[in-house]
Amino acid sequence: MFKNIIALVCFMCVSGALAQSNTTTSSPYSLFGLGTQSNTKIGKFNGLGKTGIAVKSPGFINIANPSSLGGFNSNLFLFDIGILTEISTFSDDNVSDESKVNATLSNLAIAFPLIKKAGMGISITRASSVGYSLSGIESVIENTTQLAISDVSGFGGINDLRFDFGYQVNDKLSLGLKISYLWGEIEEEETIVVGNNGIILEDVNLYSGFQLGLGFQFQASKKILVGAVVDFDTSLKGTNNQFVSQIYEGIPSTISFTEETSISNFDYPLALGFGLSYLPNEKLLVTLDYKHYSWDLTDQEDSIGVFVDQTTIGTGVEYVPKTNSLKYFERVNYRAGVYYDSGYLEIDNSKIDNISGVLGIGLPIGKKGGMLNFSYTRGLRGASDEVLVEENINQFNINLSLFDIWFKKRKYD
């Protein structure tokens, strides 16, 4: 018990580190809104096309639906940690093919039983990431034919500290509740110069807020499980600190520092999701998820584009040759999935959408059901029109899920 508490404390410290850690994107699209959404799931669920709304997970942390924690094994304490590496190539009609690499911690999560038939999960993941750096943007100095050159860069993101509660009402039905604390810091720096003279604007925007969600899972038949989730819309409050510096003959000097100005809230929309999972036999699991985000209702605007309703669809399949085999390779999980995100950003009547395919593998570790999960996702974001950028994304996820016995009294310590 004591050691578990220490484990929890350790978890908190590391999750603090996660919050400080680096961005997971280099996409110029991340300057829109609060950055690019990662929609990353925990553990094996990335390998299943980010589905999970209708997947029961007695042995895995499934943040797609809080009710999946209902019926959590009363003895197990689960720990999950993930690393994400993203290699992206960007191209558009003007310049082709620039390649960027980002690697970071992608999630930390623990889950444990609360009372009989109820489980709780605490996880920290990245809700959105900002990471862009663009240089050489030309603008005409008003009333002249001279050009000023701007560089803009942004860094940071929004983190999601989630508390999931799931309760198994009866054999068929589980209910769940999630409370998310969303917070983060996005730093943006903009430099504009003509010759050696200009200004630097540094804005540090801090956002924070809570979001509530509900979910249920229902065993429709022996092989079919359905689930639904709702995330309620919420507003993140924003505060801004701004530094303004002047550059003269290449040397900067601070002009002003404005602290703690309120900026407009960032609204997260109402989201509704439905999922289906089908287990034709012991070896196979097929999943299908659909989720709709009502960005239109938030009535928000951004300077470069418009927020539009977003739809995500995912499907996945998992194959385990023989779960309890003595042969190791027969216990390995094989996974494949497809994920489509219509995007919430529309620029010049073009939606910035995202499609990806994923292959994954899960290697059992230890005797208690731990697993080391690998997945490789190949995705495409954006469209190569006149001015927009197309991203080819190669994402590698490594994820470790570990189990331990919770509340076990040891006779020999």
Binding site: K3, S21, A148
Partner: protein
């Protein structure tokens, strides 16, 4: 298992801080990326030009003796006269010396103003009062005069050749100087004080009828001196010697000064009686006058500059080029290479002798804009001054004034054009970064 948990946590804690040094920079065409800050150029600020006259200018020991009179087609008559005292440190002249001749050698210092093809006249007068400014600060001003003998010692007319000749030779073999030579020789004059009693100094005056040029002579003892040529007779030959008096000064007081008298043909300017009065450019054909020696200064104000914040919003003045357009000048030789800038208060008293921009003192530089028929303007970046003007609270009624750096020993004049006719007009061009 818990141990593994701890180990992995610690490992990843370290890893999470070390991966990824930051975001690489894009060069991808990014036409859709917005920029919050922008730079605009504004040049329609109202400029209020005026002219005022300094009560006096300190013209003591400027290094130059200025003499001449001319009539300026734009601004009227200008007459420059110089007063100086001559001295020496050695009062030994051989008893056997025989005076041959005396000459005043005036070394040209290459300064001239107006038409040097005409004949100039210089009357050389003996000053007959003590060479003493008799003022609190022991300095002579352009309005000063010392009393001198009405009849000149000698008169010289000449056509100035400041570049082809080294000096102007003026013969001064007169009783005044032959007697002076003897007095030193026989020790009637033993020191500076005796010398000054006997010979307070010379005043070089142009003739009232002159309309030629104003010429500068150096006051350096190596260039300008009163030379006594003598010889010492002996059996074999007559060897020539010289004995010089020069403008070196011997006490605290200055040894030379310039007096300027002017008759301004522009009635409004001639009517200025004291420094705090001024003449708006709009009253004199959209012009403002800068004249050295006489003391006219051009004053510049920007009445609407504070509106920049109201109209454009928060921003930073990146540069504020003050462009000054001179008109009606003959050639660039007479236009100074730079105009000095000072700050005056509402009584036209100078409160700051210079202004700085980004840590260096600045002056308005003469710029020839080649492309446009050799248009010439003066330009200076006064961004710091403008920023201070926009931000000042309370509002100080201070303004900029422009003048020729050679204000105390020349008669250069610059006419500033205040009308808005061409691209290269007098105006303030501000590059403003708005955010």
């Amino acid at each position: 298992m818990r141990n593994i948990f701890f180990i992995i946590s610690t490992f990843l804690l370290v890893v999470s801080c070390s991966t990824n040094d930051g975001v690489d920079t894009f060069e991808v065409g990014s036409g859709f990326i917005p920029v919050n800050a922008r730079i605009i150029q504004l040049d329609t600020f109202e400029i209020k030009l005026s002219t005022f006259k300094l009560d006096s200018i300190n013209t003591s020991s400027t290094g130059r003796a200025l003499v001449g009179k001319y009539t300026d087609p734009e601004i009227g008559e200008v007459a420059a006269a110089t007063y100086f005292q001559l001295s020496t440190t050695s009062f030994n002249i051989s008893e056997d010396a025989v005076l041959d001749s005396v000459a005043l050698i005036l070394g040209y210092d290459n300064y001239y103003y107006s038409d040097t093809l005409r004949v100039n006249n210089i009357d050389f007068h003996l000053i007959n009062e003590e060479f003493d400014p008799d003022s609190d600060d022991d300095a002579f001003y352009n309005i000063h005069k010392l009393s001198y003998e009405e009849t000149p010692i000698t008169t010289r007319n000449y056509i100035p050749e400041p570049f082809t000749k080294d000096s102007l030779h003026v013969s001064m073999t007169t009783p005044l100087f032959t007697e002076l030579f003897s007095a030193i020789q026989n020790e009637e004059i033993e020191d500076q004080i005796d010398l000054q009693d006997r010979f307070p100094g010379l005043s070089l005056q142009p003739k009232a009828t002159d309309n030629g040029s104003v010429i500068g002579f150096s006051t350096d003892p190596a260039e300008t001196f009163l030379r006594f040529f003598y010889y010492i007779p002996n059996e074999l030959e007559q060897e020539q010697f010289t004995y010089d008096l020069a403008i070196t000064g011997f006490d605290q007081d200055p040894a030379s000064f310039i007096n300027i008298e002017a008759n301004n043909s522009i009635a409004d300017l001639e009517a200025l009686e004291s420094q705090e009065e001024l003449v708006l450019s709009t009253n004199i054909d959209d012009r403002s006058f800068i004249q050295s020696g006489v003391g006219y200064l051009s004053k510049i104000e920007f009445p609407s500059i504070r509106e920049i914040v109201e109209i454009q919003g928060d921003g930073v003045v990146l540069s504020a080029i003050l462009q000054i357009k001179p008109i009606n000048f003959n050639d660039t030789e007479h236009l100074p290479e730079e105009l000095s800038i000072s700050v005056v208060d509402l009584n036209n008293d100078i409160v700051e002798t210079s202004i700085a921009n980004k840590g260096s003192l600045v002056a308005a530089q003469r710029v020839t804009i080649e492309e446009e028929f050799n248009e010439i303007v003066y330009q200076v970046d006064i961004a710091d001054y403008i920023t201070a003007k926009i931000e000042e609270a309370p509002i100080l009624n201070q303004s900029l004034v422009l003048f020729d750096p050679a204000i105390s020993n020349s008669v250069n004049r610059v006419i500033v054009d205040g009308s808005s006719t061409t691209e290269y007009e007098t105006k303030l061009i501000i590059n403003y970064a708005v955010y």
